[in-house]
């Protein structure tokens, strides 16, 4: 059995009888048992039920039944997705922190498409924090760059894919929490348009900024997962009524696509390796036939402040009970960030929402009348060493967290689809990534441009590590 599967190649091999759901599930579980203590990617491994499901799926295939495009594909989910029969800690010290009658809609849809659930994945406490540290469940190790942070908050989701513990995962993104760990661990992560994927059955951090999305090794795999989870859900009031995206054209190449590169904000204060890799990607896109335009975009900086007010107020509202009754359980930085929301005025919160509305309208109108997509860095620097990420006072750590996520947060406030794509490595072999941003609900173009890059490079074909 190889550890070099993608979801697409595995699904095809399963359908063709070359490997069974039980065999691949066992392989993932064995790998998790071997690497788990070092990586700390999982919070709960649901071995017994995963094997039982895999046996059932294997039997169904033998009798000619295939549930869907993911039949027998082992997946795992961030530990804030409510999964029937499993505790949902949300990265806190409380095993059953998030209790709801509604199972995570995205998980239900993936299961209906034939996926096997391996378990729930480690994350930053309450999905707060871009590094992936967790005082209760352990800091997630970066499989591609030992000693460095995995990125957060969907740290386990990215690390599990990078290490080949799961073929694909779900994460959530309130300020970059899918794209940052994807970038740190060298995998692909997509934050879909706000409203594209249901948030039902997922612990909220900020109703206005939360997005659920997939992580996987390749762009094609992310597209497969998005197709399975997208679409209206009556359990989520913010869920769009648009039909799921049509992704048949993602192999059409970059020719003819109009790509904007922001001259302002996104290229300020970058590490040289990051800037070089992103500029290299831009050059490659030109060679592939895209029309590239360097352009000034409406300043995203006001959005960062507005988003901070929105997320802290909504987070403090949602997690107020924990904050009031058991504050000492929370990591100091998490507590401080939520505490801010208790003291922001209602007027400032509503002003932030109005600022966001205007900024979204202006940004979308100004940018997308000239280009189809934007390309920008994901993180100003490669993954930090753990000792660097956690050094200093809580205030210093909070400022470092702000710098680390400054390029992803505006896209949450704007609600636009944004994908993190590996685009090389630093001289010391840390993964680097580029962010591709599209019009609202135009995930198809985002995936098409990313797929064009992927086909030209070996960035997403790296085998899971460590071997």
């Amino acid at each position: 059995v190889t550890d070099d599967w993608t979801i697409a190649s595995l699904a095809e091999a399963i359908a063709g009888g070359r490997i069974s759901p039980l065999e691949i599930t066992r392989e993932c579980l064995d790998r998790t048992a071997r690497l788990g203590p070092r990586l700390r990617a999982f919070i709960t491994v649901d071995e017994e039920r995963a094997l039982a499901t895999a046996r059932t799926l294997t039997d169904e295939l033998a009798s000619g039944r295939r549930r869907g495009p993911l039949h027998g594909v082992p997946l795992a989910y961030k530990d804030l997705c409510r999964i029937a029969g499993l505790p949902t800690s949300c990265g806190t010290a409380t095993a059953n922190y998030f209790v709801t009658d509604i199972e995570c809609t995205a998980v239900v849809r993936l299961r209906a498409a034939g996926a096997v659930t391996l378990g729930s994945l480690n994350m930053s406490e309450l999905a707060v924090g871009p590094f992936g540290d967790n005082a209760h469940h352990g800091d997630v190790e970066n499989p591609r760059s030992p000693g460095h942070c995995a990125g957060g908050s969907s740290s386990g989701s990215a690390a599990a894919v990078a290490a080949g513990l799961a073929l694909g995962t779900l994460g959530t993104d309130t300020g970059g929490s899918i794209r940052l760990p994807a970038a740190c661990c060298g995998v692909v992560g997509l934050k879909p348009t706000y409203g594209r994927v249901s948030r039902a059955g997922v612990m909220p951090l900020s109703w206005s900024l939360d997005h659920v999305g997939p992580l996987a090794r390749t762009v094609g795999d992310v597209a497969l997962l998005l197709e399975a989870i997208a679409g209206h859900d009556p359990h989520d009031a913010t869920s769009s009524r648009r039909p799921p995206p049509r992704l048949a054209g993602i192999d059409d190449g970059a020719r003819g696509m109009r790509v904007g590169v922001p001259e302002n904000f996104f290229f300020e204060g970058l590490a040289p390796a990051v800037e070089g890799a992103v500029r290299g990607t831009v050059g490659m896109l030109e060679r592939l036939g895209a029309t590239v335009k360097w352009m000034r975009v409406p300043d995203p900086a006001p959005l960062v402040g507005a988003a901070q007010i929105i997320s802290s107020c909504e987070g403090a509202t949602i997690h107020g009970r924990l904050l009031r009754e058991r504050p000492d359980e929370l990591q100091p930085v998490v507590r401080t960030r939520l505490d801010v929301g208790l003291h922001v005025s209602a007027v400032d919160y509503l002003q932030a929402m109005r600022v966001r509305s205007r900024a979204a309208r202006v940004f979308i109108r100004e940018v997308f009348r000239e280009v189809d997509l934007l390309v920008a860095p994901v993180i100003p620097e490669p993954a930090l060493l753990w000792v660097e990420a956690k050094a200093g006072s809580p205030g210093e750590v909070a400022r470092r967290m702000g710098r680390f996520s400054r390029l992803t947060r505006p896209l949450n406030a704007l609600g636009l689809p944004a994908l993190s794509l590996p685009c090389g490595t630093s001289p010391d072999h840390r993964p680097l990534a580029v962010q591709i941003v599209g019009r609202p609900f135009d995930e198809a173009s985002v995936l098409r441009l990313a797929r064009a890059c992927e086909r030209e490079t070996a960035w997403t074909s790296a085998r899971p590590s460590p071997a």
């Binding site: 402040g305 922001v344 932030a352 979204a360 979308i364 006072s393 809580p394 019009r439």
Partner: protein
């Protein structure tokens, strides 16, 4: 007031100053729900 409380107080004051500045020229007609309309209006179906 301990260090953590000072951080919270400073952060709240900073955010209030930011939002006062960037929201100073908002139109009276601007509503929080305008965000969803902006997404719908900017999607490919409507704009292309």
């Amino acid at each position: 007031m301990d260090e953590r409380e000072r951080q919270v107080t400073t952060a709240v004051a900073d955010l209030a100053a930011v939002i006062e500045r960037v929201g100073a020229d908002l139109s009276l007609a601007e509503e929080p729900s305008g965000f969803t309309l902006a997404l719908e209006a900017g999607s490919p179906t409507e704009s292309q």
